[in-house]
Symmetry: C2
Subunit: 367 residues, 2 copies
């Protein structure tokens, strides 16, 4: 039955200590046995045992000792990030981006393919697979060598990684994206909503590095909200957390309407605004207002530490941000910080990488 926790024999200690060493190992480059032991809070002997275990499993490697220092040279070990690879995919309405990363999450290969809004589902999937395969092959990794893969896409993606609602991408509704991606490479596959993955990426290495509660606003041709609480993605029961579709917010304008009225596309508007064009500034303000309106619902509900603005409009830069801040301050008693996305359009694929890594770390590294 085992409902009250796992077995607690001495093997658990070994696992825990190996885990501590692995974490210490990944903190930085090659380290000596003593350094690792101290970092993990263990004795040198225990550290040694853990390292020999990790080395056997291919996760650690001994490297040449440093020269030029007095005393017996210390054995040095490093994390074998190349022991496995994960794939992150962004299958967007207009763009497909594949990233191959090692176990450190460092991106090794990257492929980008263009699509358009009308590309049918089957063809879009072929493009995605092509981009992904190109990455894997370029890295010289065997096709079956992937440890996990994840994909982000527009629309509501449920817990199992199936697209349950998609209004933008034709033929997407009902697609088992996670299963598809997993089948391509014979590895565990995952899928999530694009804004959610972008939030994950920003929290991992981007603007939201230092916070654990954040709202990500994807604003642009693709739009949506991502929610990260306690450092964990929150997609909700059906995966539609943050999808405000039905919320009757007064004065909530869709950006496409605003842009259509203005008769110019976003890039032109931002460019003109930068040059002081009054009409463009007004449009930027209306866009900011709409973004803030949507964000305010999330902010008031979860009271996050940070709002990260990403997506195409984030090219609007600080001027757009300033307007969003101003509008948000009007709507919230105690508004959170608002900042720009670090990774821009790469954040979705990067978040997918992180999602795949999460699985690998949990299941294969035992972290």
């Amino acid at each position: 039955m085992r409902t009250l926790g796992d077995t607690h024999d001495t093997a658990l200690l070994r696992r825990l200590n190996t885990r501590a060493i692995l974490l210490a190992l990944r903190q930085s480059g090659p380290q000596t046995l003593t350094q690792l032991a101290r970092a993990a809070g263990l004795s040198r002997q225990t550290a040694e045992a853990a390292l020999s275990d990790l080395t056997e499993r291919g996760l650690a490697r001994e490297v040449a000792p440093t020269e030029g220092r007095a005393g017996r040279p210390a054995r040095r070990f490093t994390f074998r990030a190349e022991a496995g690879h994960v794939l992150g995919l962004d299958v967007g309405p207009r763009r497909i981006l594949a990233m191959l990363a090692d176990l450190n999450g460092d991106v090794i290969e990257e492929r980008r393919l263009d699509a358009d809004e009308h590309t049918p589902a089957a063809e879009r999937l072929v493009l995605a697979e092509r981009a992904a395969t190109a990455c894997v092959e370029a890295a010289g990794s065997a096709r079956g060598g992937l440890w996990a893969a994840a994909a982000g896409t527009s629309g509501v993606v449920d817990r199992s990684g199936r697209v349950s609602v998609s209004t933008i991408v034709p033929g997407w509704t009902g697609l088992d994206l996670a299963g598809q991606v997993g089948r391509w490479f014979g590895c565990p596959g995952f899928a999530a909503n694009d804004a959610n993955l972008a939030a994950v990426a920003e929290h991992w290495r981007g603007s939201a590095r230092h916070v654990d509660d954040l709202v990500y606003v994807l604003a642009g041709y693709r739009s949506g909200h991502g929610l990260l609480l306690d450092g964990r993605l929150r997609t909700g029961r059906t995966g539609s957390a943050g999808e405000l579709g039905g919320l009757p917010l007064s004065g909530w304008e869709d950006s496409s309407v605003v842009l259509a009225e203005a008769g110019r596309d976003a890039a032109e508007i931002f460019e003109a605004a930068r040059e002081g064009d009054e009409q463009a500034l007004a449009v930027v303000d209306r866009l900011a207002h709409g973004i803030a309106r949507g964000a305010s619902a999330l902010v008031l509900v979860v009271d996050p530490e940070l709002v990260v603005v990403g997506g195409g409009f984030s090219r609007g830069g600080e001027s757009l941000l300033a307007r969003i801040r101003a509008h948000l301050a009007e709507m919230c008693l105690n508004p959170p910080e608002v900042t720009l996305s670090t990774f821009g359009e790469e954040s979705i694929a990067l978040g997918a990488v992180r999602m795949a890594l999460d699985h690998v770390e949990r299941e294969r590294l035992g972290l």
Copy 2:
């Protein structure tokens, strides 16, 4: 430094196993050594060691063996719930409720005092202390014998347990409620928003027992929203999660306005509605609409498994609930279940009990 986890010596095993035994012990009444060992997944010897440890700490007690069975009588142990007590307080605008509970969370004493909206802060605190002290003394427990105490109140309560905004209770803003409560009994003190604590109570033993993501709607003279995600209370950065004050929701009527227009109080309305009074039914529908409007924001943002409706209006019963469900279904694509609160007006104090117990379990029982 110790950032990578605690020491992992064999003492950890002991702690973990003792914890497993403690959990098993609390699952039900007196159990034999063998039963406990099996439930915790440990050997009998280990279970025995853990139990002797727990007995020494006063958390377990050996009881008389069962008679009438063949074989050597088995030693039986039980959790000593009376080893400590916690206090839960609801300091509301119109009512003060104190509950004293043992370590099982079973309420032993309960005191209720009436106040009104105009009672000044100092006097309200005196009433609260009086109710609490009465509970403690009635239980024959020493005044210093409390292990933890928590209080719920209207308004925004920050992480530290300080009331940062209170519109209902006069003089409440700025009050360090957690500190106050702790000082009364010389024990750790906590405080939180009432709707949040109600959510905690419903999740603990009420309607939300079986789910981990829920939205609680406090509807009545006191109103507000409580948010529980992954079984944990979410109060946000400043404690104002779920406070929708500034959200420009179209068609969001305040219940007090609706009732004022109707010219009857809530109890009358619900009574009349039960008898089929058409005008009353219309008012109930308007109330339900308002409740659903507010709830919809939380539901769309976090996509919970369940919405629990509590507070004074929950006396409106199934008929109100049905209207709320109907309105919510219009606003959400995939509406969650909606159910009535189990504990009604007691849920806030009960949630406070749970909050105090959380601290005790974490810090004193090591769970």
